[in-house]
Amino acid sequence: MRVSVQSQDFDLATALHGFGTAKNTGATVTFTGLVRDDTGQLDYMEIEHYPGMCENAILKIAQDAEQRWGLTDCLVIHRYGKLNVGAQIMMVATAGRHRVDAFDAATFLMDYLKSRAPFWKKEVSLGGASSEWVSAKDSDETALKRW
């Protein structure tokens, strides 16, 4: 298991080097979150984080996932700081015996990271016309209830 909270970008291939190589691994799932520009007005996203608590919260979530789905490997990388449109925000990777384990664990990790890891996103529009904190969605809170 590996957890990293970092400002620098990551490379999926490098991150996955040696990931999930246990003989009883049958499935790996990765999720990558990117800065999306729906309106064509987004300049960049600024991600604020709570140093220390981030790492601890993610570690705990990842350990829960490993145990619950008997994962053979688990990886979470989450960035903070200024991220341009199209930039990678974070990734999770899960390795398990069966596809359902890997899928469910990755979905669980994402649901928890969304609402329980101390990061806050601010969207800054082109020319600095506006800058707004992204609101938490009720649907994200609801998503947690299934686990």
């Binding site: 979150g33 604020e48 709570y50 220390g52 608590m53 601890n56 919260a57 989450h78 925000i89 974070m90 994402m110 990271l113 969304k114 609402s115 329980r116 890891a117 101390p118 990061f119 806050w120 996103k121 601010k122 904190w133 992204v134 609101s135 938490a136 809170e141």
Partner: protein
């Protein structure tokens, strides 16, 4: 003395990311009440507790959590990671 830290728009409303508060508040809620009475910027930041989350010593807790032995309290909006 307790370290109080703020994030996102809570930090922006309070105006500082971190400060030391000399308090005898027994719970998080007592601390909120104390700060709210102190200055408008706190009253503004704490006006809607439903839109706030709190952590003591980096663990998420409810507002009725005790502050005995706590070194750090953090106030912030609902998290938006991932």
């Amino acid at each position: 003395m307790i370290d109080v830290v703020y994030f996102a728009w809570v930090r922006e409303r309070i105006g500082v990311p971190r400060e030391q508060i000399d308090t005898t508040a027994a719970t998080v809620m007592d601390l909120v009440t104390e700060l709210t009475a102190r200055e408008d910027r706190y009253a503004l930041a704490f006006s809607d507790l439903d839109s706030l989350r709190v952590a003591v010593d980096q663990e998420l807790v409810d507002f009725d959590a005790p502050l005995v032995g706590v070194r750090e309290v953090a106030f912030f909006p609902p998290m938006t990671g991932g």
